[in-house]
Symmetry: C2
Subunit: 199 residues, 2 copies
């Protein structure tokens, strides 16, 4: 339904948000205009500022408006441990889980020749230098357990062969609270292969 | 988790959107910055334009940036029928359902003395004049079937007593596809009270 040119344009633009379709966009647009214009104006300014100024951390490639992100700039993080992830949201997930005190390296994707994404786009050319010069002792590969994620992990393992660093892969298996009967076969195969002696 | 001042501010601002909490906001912010900056910039401009220019239709009080909304300006809509709704999104719902060719009047709320919302805030003072001068023959009350919505409908019915217009209320009952055993008692009472002779 057409409401008015400016409201229609707002509804259209809101659909740039992931998971927002025409219905949610309409409800959101009318809600903001009816009840929360200061919120709409603040959101517009936050979007503009972030879109203009946020770039990549020159050390780990995550998103930040500074030269270096807060984690890379924090001297208390363990520089011997480097966790390689596909995207900045993976860092958020790991940080919220707690328990990891090392540093990160963000690929912004995974190897996918069909989409023209090779080692260069993912910063993999610079990774061996980063590992050698940064005194990294262990590189933890936390790419996702998809075909591309596994291929990317394999490529990284090979490219770090001469750096002297240990390369490890995060465990894949039954998630906590998961029940075997509801879990897919691929995960069960991984869980069996990754079995450990009970101590 | 703190990411960077600008990204944190964006995550905070995104929570002005209805139904968006910290988790969705974080995912949305990182998605926009990683994959869709043009979308973020377009959304910022659409928000600013709409927040600055959208006001109320001088005839029906719905949201529009023009003097009159598209429905009020459309000479083919039936001026004898006036449907009173609580909010602009109710117009969207009725228009999408189809079948209504009259005009609207938007209250932007319902009577709620406890929140300081009286007849004046809802444009109810001007409604009798609108009905009389506009040659309205039937006023359909489509406020929601809540305590305040019913009180508002009752107030409007009284205030239109001298206008000569018929005042009707939309039917409340079992929704299409609804099954009696899953429907609340209030709706069933309404459905029984509103029963009609089968022809």
């Amino acid at each position: 339904m057409r409401i008015s040119p400016l409201i229609d344009r707002l509804i259209e633009s809101l659909q740039a948000l992931p998971g927002v379709g025409p219905k949610t966009a309409t409800r959101t647009a009318l809600h903001l205009l009816q009840y929360n214009r200061p919120g709409a104006v603040a959101l517009a300014s936050a979007l503009t500022e972030a879109a203009e100024n946020v770039q990549r951390c020159r050390t780990c490639r995550t998103l930040t408006e500074s030269e270096q992100c807060a984690i890379c700039a924090n001297p208390r993080r363990d520089g011997h441990l480097l966790c390689v992830v596909e995207s900045p949201s993976d860092i958020v997930a790991i940080e919220l889980a707690g328990g990891f005190s090392g540093r990160y390296y963000v690929l912004h994707g995974r190897l996918s020749p069909i989409d023209g994404i090779g080692p260069d786009e993912l910063g993999l050319i610079d990774l061996p230098t980063r590992v050698r010069d940064g005194g990294v002792r262990e590189v933890i590969l936390a790419t996702n357990p998809t075909v591309e994620g596994e291929a990317t992990a394999h490529f990284i393992k090979e490219s770090l062969r001469d750096t002297g660093a240990t390369v490890t892969r995060i465990a894949h298996g039954v998630p906590l609270g998961g029940e075997l009967e509801y879990i897919d076969g691929g995960t069960i195969v991984h869980a069996l292969r990754g079995r450990r002696t009970v101590e």
